[in-house]
Symmetry: C2
Subunit: 157 residues, 2 copies
């Protein structure tokens, strides 16, 4: 499945779907961040994904982190809520065009080992001083910068 | 349209829909809370409703508050994120069964006058000392209690 992110793009396809999702900043004792290297668009990203019926959004955060990284985690806080209508994500395989809806949590690892999956070619703990050097989608970079900036209140956008 | 809320009910219909929505605790200079008396189930509630494509969740909060109460507002903070899979809402007219997904914001009024609509038979500023005496759905009561409890961090459930 190919994923294309559009920002404030007059030629972007019109959103036809709204899917609540969670992303997770998992932080270990050294302050490193758990990052995945995506197979669908070659970017680095925080683990995360769409909410399923029957689970809470925190359940989603924990489940997606486990599936994509092999790491168990416990949610400890909130970075922000990201719902910018100017950011749409086009899945070309079925022409779904999602409007961004992501809640970004902070979590601590509680077990497991970094393990790639079909969605993730690499899983790494990345030093927070160099995480910004990775190739990343602009929305992911913003979320990580909000976490690293140490805001006292969640971002609401 | 009739709305029936189910909690942890083994006989509840199975959720078939997930619709992100916003609710708003609008607080005036006296510390009163803006409350609506719903037409669909006779309960009192915070203003709010479902997110539309093309708007941010904060846009939703402001738009729904205006539509349901006549009051303009500006969002100033977050009470919490409520996504309990054991809470489902059955709309009997078309058998939609939504799993709860509400983000609850705090806001300040910036204009307008309390004005009922087709969805709201009464709109009132309610003294925070007596708001808990109103007839309310259990999830709405919880959200208001979280706001009045003055939590330092958002509720994540």
């Amino acid at each position: 499945m190919t994923r294309i992110d559009h920002y404030d793009d007059p030629d972007a396809p019109r959103a036809n779907s709204l899917v609540p999702s969670a992303n997770v900043v998992v932080v270990n004792d050294d302050g490193d961040l758990l990052m995945i290297h995506r197979t669908d668009n070659d970017n680095w990203a925080l683990p995360g994904g769409a909410m399923d019926l029957g689970e809470s959004l925190i359940d989603t955060a924990v489940r997606e982190t486990k599936e994509e990284t092999g790491i168990d985690c416990r949610v400890t806080g909130l970075v922000g809520i990201y719902t910018d209508p100017k950011h749409v994500i086009h899945y070309t395989s079925d022409d779904e065009v999602r409007q961004e809806f992501s809640v970004v949590f902070v979590a601590r690892p509680t077990g497991g080992q970094p393990t790639p999956s079909s969605e993730t070619r690499e899983v790494m703990w990345v030093d927070r001083r160099v995480v910004d050097d990775l190739r990343m989608d602009r929305s992911m970079r913003l979320r990580i910068q909000h976490y690293l900036g140490g805001r006292n209140t969640p971002y609401l956008g």
